[in-house]
Subunit: 409 residues, 4 copies
Amino acid sequence: MATHKDVKKVVLAYSGGLDTSIILKWLQTELGAEVVTFTADLGQGDELGPARKKAELMGIPDKNIYIEDVREEFVRDFVFPMFRANAVYEGVYLLGTSIARPLISKRLVEIAEETGADAIAHGATGKGNDQVRFELSAYALNPDIKVIAPWRDWTLKSRTELIAFAEAHQIPIPKDKRGEAPFSVDANLLHSSSEGKVLEDPNEEAPEYVYQRSVSPEDAPDKATEIEIGFKAGDAVSINGETLSPATILARLNDLGRDNGIGRLDLVENRFVGMKSRGVYETPGGTILLTAHRAMESITLDRGAAHLKDELMPRYAELIYNGFWFSPEREMLQAAIDHSQREVEGTVRLKLYKGNVIVTGRASPKSLYDDALVTFEDDRGAYDQKDAAGFIRLNALRLRTLAARNRNS
Amino acid sequence: MATHKDVKKVVLAYSGGLDTSIILKWLQTELGAEVVTFTADLGQGDELGPARKKAELMGIPDKNIYIEDVREEFVRDFVFPMFRANAVYEGVYLLGTSIARPLISKRLVEIAEETGADAIAHGATGKGNDQVRFELSAYALNPDIKVIAPWRDWTLKSRTELIAFAEAHQIPIPKDKRGEAPFSVDANLLHSSSEGKVLEDPNEEAPEYVYQRSVSPEDAPDKATEIEIGFKAGDAVSINGETLSPATILARLNDLGRDNGIGRLDLVENRFVGMKSRGVYETPGGTILLTAHRAMESITLDRGAAHLKDELMPRYAELIYNGFWFSPEREMLQAAIDHSQREVEGTVRLKLYKGNVIVTGRASPKSLYDDALVTFEDDRGAYDQKDAAGFIRLNALRLRTLAARNRNS
Amino acid sequence: MATHKDVKKVVLAYSGGLDTSIILKWLQTELGAEVVTFTADLGQGDELGPARKKAELMGIPDKNIYIEDVREEFVRDFVFPMFRANAVYEGVYLLGTSIARPLISKRLVEIAEETGADAIAHGATGKGNDQVRFELSAYALNPDIKVIAPWRDWTLKSRTELIAFAEAHQIPIPKDKRGEAPFSVDANLLHSSSEGKVLEDPNEEAPEYVYQRSVSPEDAPDKATEIEIGFKAGDAVSINGETLSPATILARLNDLGRDNGIGRLDLVENRFVGMKSRGVYETPGGTILLTAHRAMESITLDRGAAHLKDELMPRYAELIYNGFWFSPEREMLQAAIDHSQREVEGTVRLKLYKGNVIVTGRASPKSLYDDALVTFEDDRGAYDQKDAAGFIRLNALRLRTLAARNRNS
Amino acid sequence: MATHKDVKKVVLAYSGGLDTSIILKWLQTELGAEVVTFTADLGQGDELGPARKKAELMGIPDKNIYIEDVREEFVRDFVFPMFRANAVYEGVYLLGTSIARPLISKRLVEIAEETGADAIAHGATGKGNDQVRFELSAYALNPDIKVIAPWRDWTLKSRTELIAFAEAHQIPIPKDKRGEAPFSVDANLLHSSSEGKVLEDPNEEAPEYVYQRSVSPEDAPDKATEIEIGFKAGDAVSINGETLSPATILARLNDLGRDNGIGRLDLVENRFVGMKSRGVYETPGGTILLTAHRAMESITLDRGAAHLKDELMPRYAELIYNGFWFSPEREMLQAAIDHSQREVEGTVRLKLYKGNVIVTGRASPKSLYDDALVTFEDDRGAYDQKDAAGFIRLNALRLRTLAARNRNS
């Protein structure tokens, strides 16, 4: 489907690596399209300098090379809003890959509009979720944009053919890329994910060398690290009393998590495109943040708001996983969630120890926790225990009516 | 409300401890009621012998003393059905106290019917959730039963008055019960909970002596323990290949969890009666079981079923927490959940290490995980990547229509 | 419970009728409280003049008599936001009584604060929902307010005793109020409700004389009335091209509905306090509005937004029915709903005929309906039917995997 | 996609009409496949005899012609289970087309297995929902079945080309089929739907000639018809005291509805494939049934069950609309719904009048409606109004805590 013969100019999500370099060349040679490259620093840990150099080598003029540090935008406008929802997919996954895709698509579309390009291109394969996330985001932002997904379109069918194409076009091939990688990696400031090959048997333990950004709990220090995270309007704003920018906070939490063996996850998940896949994720800072945020909410959020959030969360997480960040329903849920977060502020104290994130204290000027109500001792009238009798009796009324009916019939 | 002057015979949930002994005497003296005692072994760890002796001492005839080991029923009919749902309250609490109450009420009501009693009595206070759980369950099973909750009704207002009442009625008072306890405890085979007094400030770390049934992660062994749990129809049926009864499985997992510092939780939760309270829970075996069950589901449960379960879960957990175990809506949800569990079988391998429960493998004769679909390598036609283009385009159609509308207006 | 001996000044929701006049006197004589009366025109159809006169007769000084026309506020801030959600309780009830209570409580609390009163009082009984709605609203707005509900507190046990009390205190008794009314009525601009006595047997048809504000479909004209309603941001703003205020629109629709036999409902509903009750409701304008609003949404609302709204609606309606208008969870849902309504604008044409509200057309500058996509004829590339094959195949993938598993096992 | 060159034998959903006759021939000539025809009487109102004759004329041997009356199975196993849920899509649509597709697919797949066919074929286009429903059902029942959807695959691009193909192959062409139909129709025992062409402008009223199976309210009799429907386990079992089979009940209700102008619906809906479409539906019997079922539930269903059903319904309806009848999640919801229906029995009395379905009575041996609880008169202790004070106070507790917090901060 989708012959892209009429594409004239295309903005490519370009990492500088071998695969997207091959794509770049393919776009130039097969489609005859002018290529604009977009390389983003999302905190994946790679230097961006080489990406520029490679783009230049492949003949991309300077005005067509976009290299940007989007870490602050990523954490502030995507990661933090998502954490306000305590979003986890299928009970455990913190959505580290999912949440980065909409931002990349947003910039691709914006750059396409700035440069007059009629298409964007990405390097995701036809089996995964990322193609969906890239493309739904792009279409939601520009209904007329064309999207090129070379992995679905080209005729290169194996690693060998790819390498041959690269060689034929003088694309430099790093030594370790000649063969199949034992697993593939995606990374950004929130997490790294690994999947494929050595991980394909879900009954085999993931080998230690798969892990990218955390020591194992076994190798973590024998002594706990204590920290305090400050919150404002549902977002983390400080660590140990020091006010920090969103990206800086997440980076610091990543360091703390990595050192203490926090945030590893090995799971089998359900992809939007229909199959189960096995992944290994590392989300050190995010794992700390989730626990801290829930603890902060536990004293500042009303029960009604908290329970509604818990009920909406699986749907919200599914939307993000499936690529519907830029959709009316995600925005509606976000409006509801954000409304609940206005008074979620204060501090949470934590102990980080060998994979554990242990809450040791929470305090807030907006606390709803009331000693007087809960105490076993004299509460000086804050709560009349006799009220409970009526409360229970009316809650039971329908159940009693039902029991009487069932007895009689 | 509730003068109980006309009560003739009452079945008391009797632990043998000081508080329920005072209640027993109060029922005899203030209400002039004949008392039947019911003492259940739910795995709380207390011997039941003393309860019989004390009841006898207080003049309860043998035929009115019911002492029962209900551990298997508890795990089989209450704990395991709940774990099929992956139920957690407010994101973290495994409902260890909540799930025991309906069983106790069920037996109280049944014994009342056997012995011709017109009322039941329990020792829960007027501030907590347990009164609600006891009473809703009782009313749902017998609409005409009377429920006596002495803590809400009597005029004993302080520990001193209680002790005075005990002394006046020759109830033996253990030395450590003369003053206020530094915290109160509830326990059963699933968990122990601690709350009150030394735990009342949510910004103070729980002291180590509060913990009842687990070593701290710091004190756990430096070497991981590896186990394999077998599942059938969503329930654990074996450990390391040994088929075991429900209660035995949970007891073994408790031992494993306790030794490895697993299952501690310190949280502020929202009670059904309206206030926030802080509790410390230990659920060693349950914590292992939850992780294992999710891992088992991850390869055997279809995505549609899994996501529906995740969406229904918060409501299901809330119902149990609030005391609505015996309600049509809990039973409806259970019917849906149980329907999904028929093929949840196989084995899950885990590493237990200093508070961590780490999945290292899952296998099932009913696995839905399909290598061929997910592989990066040649899948021999299992999946046509071109399908993804149509899939995405139709998923995007409404978003594109929306984007076009929004651009034009 | 609730001795109100210390109450000094109380704001009473005062209709001017016999019952609230008795309450007024009771507050004066039994509690010795200074009384402030609040009488609101919510569109119930009674004149407010007599209420002032009666209050004066009972010794209320002018400064303590509050009489207000709140119809515009009622429709703008309560009815319309609720209709944005298409809220119906238990599938059919348009919440006409429920939605008026929070507004009354809001004004009671505000007047209490203005006049230095320490309590408010209402005339709802202890069996209904209205007491809950009044009181939850009041407590949510002022946590320290005292609420007096004489029907729950006083010792007047029968109509006879009430009449005797009235006579003893020189309260004028209209002739038709000496006996029991055959049914009781609540009314406001949105609806009237009737319940009790002649309606207590749910197997007896409601007699025609129960209906207050609509002709029967049988008696309605033989010729349809055609109208056009204009919407902006989800709210009705015009009828037949004439821009009107919220209350005026609802009043006009009431007239149109009344004449055409629209909006009658006879149902058995579940009260929050636990029993079933039977009511007869008339919501002529609201019934038209609901149909029109759904039709307006049908061409302007994205599917994702529409379906999310439908899923959230039952909860939203339940919250309003149960009295939780002023709760964080209702506000969260409102934020989500309002977010969806920004482009819900245009016009809907309707035929009103003997109980039927028939949509005959919808048009919008923001329409998402696209002829080109849906046509059976040549769509000039708007939609590629081949996309559907991939769409279906990926949607089917998990089901096929499941079917293969189930066949093999 | 999908070259079907290897298909040897195909079961075609064959109506006997021109379009599926063309498909039949195309399967024979283009694919060279042996064709088995399946023609079902779902209550669409066409005779089946001509279908057999036409199949014979096109060379189908007798053993390959399947003609079946599936009306009872349709209503018993598909329509009635769905009505237990009170399912409506997007607030109004009773899912009449959606619910018939899974049954057809089920028989297609079964016949394929009986006859050794490797494929099935249907006549739905690539723009609609029906292709999705047919195919998801088929794949869910047989993961290896091939599905042929000629409308998506063939090269016939216009009515003219279709007619030419028919003529070239000696397929008889009814006169009225030479040109474009002014709208297209689908029908079965539950409903008829009309869409396309004259209905494509949603701002134009549907012409009267579009309606297939109901008189207009205007043309309906001036006198109401009264009926009584009996229910058992949530399903209708009798009309006016006469016990009838499922299909007979629905047929009778259709007659009653048709005569009284009941069940017309003109709406714009959101298709699963992404666009909005406008349809005109007639569901005379189903509309009566829905109202009756809700009324039956109103006195026999507990509030908890009823509200849970209402919350689950939109999802359930969406699943059916989207074609996921044979999915684990639909079955889970069905299990929950069916659990609730066990005591939904009794009788409902209705007045049918010019488009209106008016409930005039409901009675049940399993009624949960309790006069004593609800009466304004002396209830002899059935309900203690003082209980309401405690009930409200504890429900308000969290709101008061919140209000106090918000005042202080």
